[in-house]
Symmetry: C2
Subunit: 213 residues, 2 copies
């Protein structure tokens, strides 16, 4: 049974190389040979594992998204107090800058219009994030920590929309920092759940959960 | 003095053709010959007026943005009552679908990461929208129609971020309609300025101001 495991390892190695190649060249411009060079294998080897660049990019993006969603869920689940849980979840959703893995997801999904295969992936990602927020909002409300001013669905959708927009500004090199973005999103979240804005800001000096990706 | 005016007309004709060509092929894929064909002139004629495709696209986008900003401002200024003014301004900022002129602005600005020349244009657009919202918010507050729960800057920035995100979902073919988007944004706006959500929804059957672009 050694061979399948070795194949899995090789496959993962190629996907990780694809992440780096997408960061360097962009989702739409990356070529098999860039990924092969990054992985230290031949283009033929890459094509032994994946029929074409499109299939490889889709699997790469799908794995990145899975990892991102799990990281956010684990971040939320590691915190007991609903207010800190909401704060940590917002923080975990923002890219730190143009080159981190969250940014790669944003940039890749920016090709949706020209690539319908990405649309389902994007929609699923949005829905998973909305569901995570709803769970946090409803549990916090049940425990008496939140007073929801709107339905959990509306608040969750607006939170995801705000982080999508501010996340895009960050990765586009807009002079908006993650700290500015989180302050704005926290202002909305605080008003929507009836808590104090400052309580939703990350502890100063704390590291972003996304840095552990 | 007939010649300069004829030249202006021709220039405008080429820019309008460029808008259509961008809609058809995308900002990054459109070529001089597509624009020439759309304008019914030769590629040489296009290049007589613009040194290269980049200069032509930048002028096209700059004109589109100017038209969009003026339309929003005129829409706001045509309404006396602050609540209706805010509602009309939100409505005027959303694309109706993937093919209208607002969508062209979104899609073109999506190339920011690979085109630093677009960044200043994008930032200026965001700032103009934030300023328009702040003016409406502060005038409405001064007249006693709004009770601002946060600073006008925070509310304005969040409104622009929300419309950027929902606007993107609409043009990406996400199953989110402009009506759904406006309902979500209005929920936030209503809470932030202390008015009833329903008052910020567009009158049913009313036509979108953006349709008059």
């Amino acid at each position: 049974m050694g061979r399948p495991r070795r194949q899995d390892t090789r496959r993962t190695q190629i996907v990780e190389a694809a992440v780096k190649a997408i960061v360097a060249r962009g989702y739409e411009r990356v070529r098999i040979k860039d990924i092969a060079a990054e992985a230290g294998v031949s283009s033929q080897t890459v094509l032994y594992y994946f029929p074409d660049v499109e299939a490889l990019l889709l699997e790469t993006l799908s794995r990145l998204i899975h990892r991102f969603v799990e990281m956010r869920r684990d971040t939320a689940d590691a915190v007991g107090d609903p207010v800190s849980q909401l704060a940590a979840t917002i923080w975990a959703g923002l890219p730190a800058g143009p080159d981190d893995e969250i940014a790669v997801i944003y940039v890749s999904l920016g090709s949706i219009r020209r690539n319908p295969a990405l649309r389902a992936l994007s929609r699923a990602l949005t829905e998973q994030q909305v569901e995570l927020y709803r769970r946090i909002l409803e549990a916090g409300s049940a425990r008496g920590a939140f007073e929801l001013r709107e339905s959990s669905l509306v608040i969750a959708e607006n939170l995801v929309a705000l982080e999508d927009a501010y996340g895009l500004y960050i990765i586009e090199g807009d002079p908006i920092t993650p700290e500015h973005a989180i302050s704005r999103i926290a202002t909305y979240a605080a008003a929507a759940v009836g808590v104090v804005h400052e309580d939703l800001l990350p502890a100063s000096g704390g590291s972003r959960p996304a840095d552990a990706l």
